[in-house]
């Protein structure tokens, strides 16, 4: 029986089913000067998809600050690169795998990790740490429990097998993610500064070598699928999700790093979204060259695959290499050692064309630059949503202050967004490679760099409700909070990567959110001097017309010159003084308290004063540097009371209580305890050092107040003479710890 599919003829219906607009198709015909072949139609369709071409976002991404003396490579490559001193570079990026993870949570999440790992090691870096940022609907729905369970198992299955520790992350739960969960994966690797590799093809005649797994039919049109909204029948898209094989990727990693330690190659790129298509034309385009390949030579795992399928397959664990002429055999031998295939499938040409043959027959012939770089760029209309005023409207006078503030604290600690995430991170190997100095659960994860005295700290953050209520403030807060978390661990924030998850860009309100959020992120990144070095845009996170909250996730990376300065959020010793830095204002809009206790997701998010934020961060780092501080923790969801409780919980150690008091204030008690005013950090220090801490703070103009002491078995918060909170910390910790496992056991 003939298994090979017959190629369909090009009709308007076929063009439309490939997601190309009439105008875009017209452009294809102008570029080619003729009607495309079926293979060419497929190539344009994936490369000009939103996912690959950034056609709706490209114009706005230029707003980001991307430069600093320590930035070696900004956006546009497989990953961003910064100089971390001592001849070393940190290579990092974050990417979304939202759509696949919703359709098939285990494989979707696993291949998300696999993809981001390849983006980093393709640049010659050995991955040393992963993080993830996850969002789901509430856990009372079985579907959301299934998604959480599958996504976490998928991330664990891939990362653990690869031997890369997952050292930090964040997880939010909100009904808005019911139809669209978000799964963003971050990887950071270390390379020698002078041994960074790029995805480029040059030198006419140089061989193009295919390495890694064989090509199958999995993942065809994955990139196109990620560029559409979900509707009924999403389940049918399961075949567009790839299947991951972390064992093969581990071999690929080791083989690539061995290859890169020798002087054998010109360029290398991962076959990620749009597989062989994107890797070949992007490398050719970057190198200003052309490329000719014969698909008949591509290793395949299924019979009867046609050129269209071979070019569009997103089978995992594959890379494309341009080697130096004559080095084919050496390259092949390295891969053979690791039991992997390496096949020369073509060569670099000088005519700028991507020429794809099948046997002797040319099946596609397109100017590489036209596909890779000349995708349409849209300046889509944007408009402030009509509902914006009403969601920002919050009259606090109509909200009564709860009488039982202990009860409010219970409710907040029990909210899965605030609750302990150990059910998640215990499934991740977070210690392998023996570099993890600060485990998941504190403000930022910290890994030392062997052979140096340095360490890197990293954190992922975004409060998407803030971004919904005020995208600009929300975007700025995402950057500020990520940097603050890095500061609290004792490191200097250096640069960030982002993962911009939004709804349908064809809706003016989505584009408005996008532009505003980017503006806010840019302002904060400029003020904090943390340029954007890489990132990813994920639009169409929308089901049946309902989009997710704008969720621009920030992954911040910082450097610590002396790893012994690594600081955690946990209180250390009885008798230490507790100091609150920053001002508390009457800010309840967009808080977790308002959502959980009053059932409202409204108001304006807390104000962010970037100058005050910068001063706070500089001052805290200075105090850590001179060893004045024993712990530092920023106030975020749940406000001051929750942050204080988290300082008491101390991760795996026995909890330790504290007693603090704040003066009677004009502020509402709920705002005082649970408001989420920005730029606040709780620190603890030896009593003798309180004066020195205060001196540093006042020299930077940072509000600083000693509020109490560490000790005892209870968390006691007094407002004036009144005891607002008095609870056993063991009991509080139990509630906080059980909140996520409990519904999952049901």
């Amino acid at each position: 029986m003939e298994k090979t599919k017959k190629e369909p003829s090009i009709t308007p219906e076929l063009v439309a089913s490939h997601g190309l607009s009439e105008e875009e198709y017209g452009r294809v015909k102008v570029i080619l000067g003729r009607v495309p072949t079926y293979t060419e139609l497929g190539i344009f369709s994936v490369m000009w998809s939103e996912h690959c071409s950034y056609k709706s976002s490209r114009k706005h991404l230029g707003r980001f600050p991307t430069k600093a003396p320590w930035v070696i490579q900004g956006p546009g490559e497989n990953a961003g690169v910064i100089d971390i001193g001592g001849g070393l570079a940190a290579v990092f990026k974050m990417e979304s795998h939202n759509h696949p993870s919703f359709i098939e949570p285990y494989q979707g999440a696993a291949t998300g990790v696999g993809g981001i790992l390849r983006d980093v090691f393709t640049m010659g870096a050995r991955p040393i740490a992963n993080m993830d940022s996850l969002r789901f609907g509430p856990l009372d729905a079985p579907k959301n429990r299934y998604l959480l369970d599958g996504v976490v198992a998928g991330i664990a299955g891939y990362g653990n097998c690869m031997g890369i520790p997952t050292i930090a992350g964040e997880t939010y739960f909100n009904e808005i993610y019911n139809g669209n969960n978000l799964v963003n994966a971050f990887t950071l690797g270390i390379a020698k500064k002078e041994r960074i590799f790029y995805g480029t093809a040059s030198g006419v005649g140089n061989p193009v070598i295919y390495v890694g797994s064989k090509t199958g039919r999995d993942g065809i049109h994955g990139a196109t699928m990620a560029s559409e909204e979900f509707s009924e029948g999403t389940e049918e898209k399961r075949p567009t999700v790839q299947v991951g094989d972390p064992f093969t990727e581990k071999l690929l990693l080791e083989a690539c790093l061995e290859l890169m330690s020798k002087d054998l190659i010109i360029g290398i790129q991962d076959m990620g979204a749009a597989g062989l298509t994107s890797s070949s034309c992007e490398m050719a385009s970057r190198g200003g060259s052309g490329m000719e390949m014969d698909l008949a030579l591509v290793p395949r795992r299924e019979e009867g695959m046609i050129p269209y399928e071979l070019m569009l397959s997103e089978s995992q664990e594959r890379m494309l290499i341009v080697a130096k002429e004559g080095m084919e055999k050496v390259v092949e031998d390295i891969f053979k050692k690791w039991d992997l295939e390496a096949v020369t499938i073509g060569h670099v040409t000088g005519d700028g064309m991507l020429r794809v043959k099948d046997g002797g027959v040319v099946v596609a012939e397109i100017p590489a630059k036209a596909i890779a770089d000349e995708a349409p760029v849209y300046d889509r209309p944007s408009e402030r949503p009509i509902y914006q005023d009403s969601i920002q409207d919050l009259n606090l006078d109509l909200l009564s202050v709860p009488g039982d503030l202990n009860g409010v604290l219970f409710k907040l600690l029990e909210s899965p967004t605030i609750a302990e995430k150990s059910w998640i991170y215990r499934q991740y190997d977070h210690m392998v490679r023996t570099n993890t100095v600060v485990y998941p659960g504190s403000d930022a994860g910290v890994v030392r760099i062997k052979g140096t005295n340095k360490a890197l700290a990293m954190s992922v953050d975004c409060n998407s409700l803030y971004c919904f209520l005020h995208p600009k403030a929300g975007g700025a807060i995402a950057v500020a909070e990520a940097a603050r978390n890095v500061i609290c661990s004792g490191a200097r924030p250096m640069a960030l990567t982002d993962c911009l998850n939004f709804g349908n860009p064809e809706k003016p309100e989505t584009m408005w959110q996008f532009k505003e959020a980017l503006e806010g992120m840019s302002l904060a990144a400029e003020e904090l001097n943390t340029p954007v070095v890489s990132g990813n845009v994920s639009f169409y996170n929308e089901t049946k017309g309902l989009g997710v909250y704008p969720t621009p996730v920030v992954g911040m990376v910082g450097i610590m010159d002396d790893v012994s300065k690594a600081t955690t959020q946990y209180f250390k010793d009885e008798g230490d003084v507790i100091i609150l830095l920053g001002d508390t204002k009457e800010e309840l809009g967009g808080t977790e308290y308002l959502r959980v206790v009053h059932g409202l997701q409204k108001g304006l998010p807390p104000d962010i004063d970037l100058k005050a934020e910068k001063a706070l961060q500089v001052a805290v780092l200075e105090a850590i540097d001179v060893n004045l501080i024993k712990s530092a923790h920023d106030c975020s969801e749940g406000g001051f009371a929750v942050a204080l409780a988290e300082c008491c919980f101390r991760g795996e150690k026995e909890p330790l209580g504290c007693e603090v008091s704040t003066p009677v204030d004009r502020l509402r008690k709920d705002a005082l305890l649970f408001g989420e005013s920005q730029s606040r950090i709780i620190i603890s220090a030896k009593p003798d050092y309180a004066g020195a801490v205060s001196d540093i703070m006042s020299s930077h103009g940072v509000p600083c107040r000693t509020i109490g002491r560490v000790g005892g078995g209870s968390l006691i918060i007094r407002i004036g003479d009144e005891e607002a909170v008095n609870q056993s910390v063991s009991r509080l910790k139990g509630i906080w710890r059980e909140a996520i496992p409990k519904p999952l056991k049901a």
Partner: protein, 247 residues
């Protein structure tokens, strides 16, 4: 002393073991590729590191045991050489028949990564000689299949012979169901063979051998090996108390 760290495709704690032995304990260390059928140098001990050898696709350790290098390991063990298998290494030693019993999936059916406590049940082995009987060590686990299983007769025999070297316990040394992270029979975390020269343990001592990582309890296990080798090759012995002081 000189140690061999075996590298299977999919090993991922190989570099960690190398680092601990070489840079923390100051020993000579070589990586040995799984395709080698014999050792080219004389070794004082062999380390089979953790990871996912061959992806652990069939069953943990099931494919690795057929690797060419296992012939060399088997010969080395039969001659009385010290062999330690950590995590996946322990699973491989079970599959290879160098240690009795088998591994099941964790009772929770999930991968578990966390610090646990283990109690030293037998200090008279080359791998625990720097410990005292009853010592409680805090060492992390990171595995999905660490639920040790053996039939009752085997369990009785290895208990009787003193082959059960480490048991999961709580921080006070209490061996209980609550302190058993994965459902292991008799709370077993580590066992040795009858001759005491082959040892497997699920927790990772190489992950807690440096102060900067917040814990040095694992160093007692690795130092025990070095100490044993020193004595039996005529070098000077490293005593447990020296390590306690250094901590």
């Amino acid at each position: 002393m000189r140690y061999a760290v075996i590298v299977f495709p999919g090993s991922n704690c190989d570099h960690d073991c190398y680092h601990a032995m070489k840079h923390v304990l100051g020993q000579e260390v070589d990586f040995i590729w799984h395709k080698e059928e014999s050792f080219q140098k004389k070794y004082d001990g062999v380390i089979i590191p953790g990871g996912f050898s061959y992806g652990d696709y069939l069953r943990t350790g099931a494919i690795a045991r057929f690797s060419p290098v296992m012939k060399a390991v088997d010969g080395f063990a039969k001659c009385g050489g010290l062999v330690i298998g950590i995590c996946n290494g322990f699973q491989i030693l079970l599959e290879a028949g160098l240690l009795p019993g088998a591994m099941l999936r964790n009772e929770s059916l999930k991968f578990i990564c966390k610090d646990v406590y283990v109690k030293v049940e037998n200090e008279q082995t080359p791998f625990t000689r720097c410990c005292n009987r009853g010592d409680v060590l805090r060492i992390p686990i990171a595995h999905a299949e660490g639920n040790y299983f053996a039939d009752d007769e085997t369990l009785a025999r290895i208990e009787e012979n003193g082959q059960v070297v480490l048991k999961y316990c709580d921080k006070d040394g209490e061996i209980s169901q609550e302190s058993n992270p994965n459902g292991s029979a008799h709370n077993i975390a580590g066992i040795c063979n009858e001759a005491r020269n082959v040892f497997g343990m699920m927790p990772h001592p190489e992950r807690c051998s440096e102060a900067i990582l917040g814990n040095t309890d694992g160093k007692n296990i690795l130092a025990s090996m070095v100490s044993h080798s020193s004595i039996f090759t005529g070098g000077c012995s490293i005593r447990y108390t020296d390590y306690k002081q250094a901590q």
